[in-house]
């Protein structure tokens, strides 16, 4: 990040081939069209974007295809070794950037990482702090949530066992369907909240409001943490329902 800033602040870079000035994050020289060397840029900067979370994904996709056509290694098959190397590097970076930015969750996690928040590192540091203090670690997610995950998984286990000997208790299956609906709805609600937090972050970023940015970041962390549990619950409930359906099918064939 510091590197990008230095580049942006330093004298306007010039093309290695024709010597014309170009923008810091340009991929190709505007004058001679030659490929420019890779610069240390984050995924947003690569697309010439500010670090805003609300993104026009279809527009980004168009830009991605336009850029990847221009940077494609096939175009540089006859070029110098150096240019071939640059083309490979840039294409691969571009692919990573597109894959990350198009996905709402990956994009949010990436921004938090750029902003110095690594979720896993945070958790590990909290454990180290707890060890040093000889105390239990403060849990990020409320205990109710953990209890809920536990309880549902007990139900799922029961349901899987019941499905195996075809004693498939209809009430249990109905419960699972209700749970699936409930957690899917929670996932959707979380997505709506996520988009609201994106706006909060974008507004704070545009306004240069550091306090509001910090608040938005912390809320995003809390939301992502909660989301990973709900995501697993949805996944587990669906798996259980699938295996029940499969077992029933097999038993029906036998009978």
């Amino acid at each position: 990040m510091a590197m990008t800033q230095t580049l942006a602040q330093s004298a306007t870079p010039v093309c290695w081939s024709c010597g014309s000035a170009h923008e810091a994050h340009a991929q190709l020289c505007g004058s001679c069209g030659k490929l420019l060397p890779p610069v240390d840029a984050d995924y947003f900067a690569l697309f010439g974007l500010p670090r805003r979370l609300t993104l026009d994904v279809p527009a980004l996709e168009k830009q991605f295809y336009r850029l990847s056509r221009r940077l494609h290694p096939d175009l540089y098959a006859q070029a110098s070794e150096q240019e071939r190397q640059w083309s490979l590097e840039k294409s691969s970076l571009l692919n990573d950037a597109w894959r990350t930015l198009r996905d709402p969750i990956a994009r949010t996690e990436y921004l938090l990482e750029l902003e110095g928040i690594a979720l896993e590192e945070q958790s590990r540091n909290a454990t180290d702090a707890a060890r040093a203090a000889g105390t239990a670690k403060q849990q990020i997610v409320p205990p109710d949530m953990l209890e809920e995950v536990f309880e549902l998984n007990m139900q799922l286990e029961e349901a899987r066992m019941a499905a195996q000997d075809d004693s498939g208790d209809p009430e249990l299956v109905a419960n699972l369907h209700a749970a699936e609906k409930n957690y899917s709805a929670q996932m959707e609600a979380l997505h709506t909240q996520l988009e609201q937090l994106w706006s909060a972050w974008d507004t704070a970023l545009t306004a240069g409001d550091a306090t509001a940015q910090e608040e938005a970041k912390q809320s995003l962390v809390a939301l992502l943490n909660r989301r990973s549990y709900i995501r697993n619950l949805v996944r587990d409930v669906r798996q259980a329902l699938d295996s029940i359906a499969v077992n029933r099918g097999e038993n029906a064939d036998k009978g």
């Binding site: 590990r124 060890r131 105390t135 239990a136 670690k137 205990p143 995950v149 536990f150 990973s228 995501r231």
Partner: protein, 137 residues
């Protein structure tokens, strides 16, 4: 994903799966989660009130093979130790024993968190405040 042999062994034959009486004053319960992956772990210990030795440990983990192996190993390790000795167990010890790859280190962190949480709960129930106060033998 290549699991180490020790992970597979603990996964196939988890030690000490189960539950202890949560209401008992001799039992400490730790319920912890790893938000990175959504795994949840419950670890319980039963402590001898006279010797402060952990006589019994049980766990139940909702998570991947490494999380199950980490908690299984944690219950094996805390058994027979005093509460204070058990607090010395570090997640890096678990990583070493199970040869966990970097992407699974958070599973070992979760196991250490679970031990601490269980001991914390037991201390709270029994009015043990400071770690240093427990060194009576």
């Amino acid at each position: 994903m290549a699991y180490s042999e020790k992970v597979i062994d603990h996964y196939n034959n988890p030690r000490n799966v189960g539950q202890l009486d949560k209401a008992s004053t001799e039992v400490g319960t730790g319920l912890v989660g790893a938000p990175e992956c959504g795994d949840v772990m419950r670890l319980q210990i039963k402590v001898n009130p006279d010797t402060q030795v952990i006589e019994e440990a049980k766990f139940k983990t909702i998570g991947c093979g490494s999380a199950i192996a980490s908690s299984s190993l944690a219950t094996e390790w805390v058994k027979g130790k005093t509460v204070e000795e058990a607090l010395q167990i570090k997640n890096t010890d678990i990583v070493k024993e199970l040869s966990l790859p970097p992407v699974k280190i958070h599973c070992s962190v979760l196991a250490e968190d679970a031990i601490r949480a269980a001991i914390g709960d037991w201390k709270k129930k029994n009015g043990v405040a400071e770690p240093a106060a427990a060194a009576v033998n």
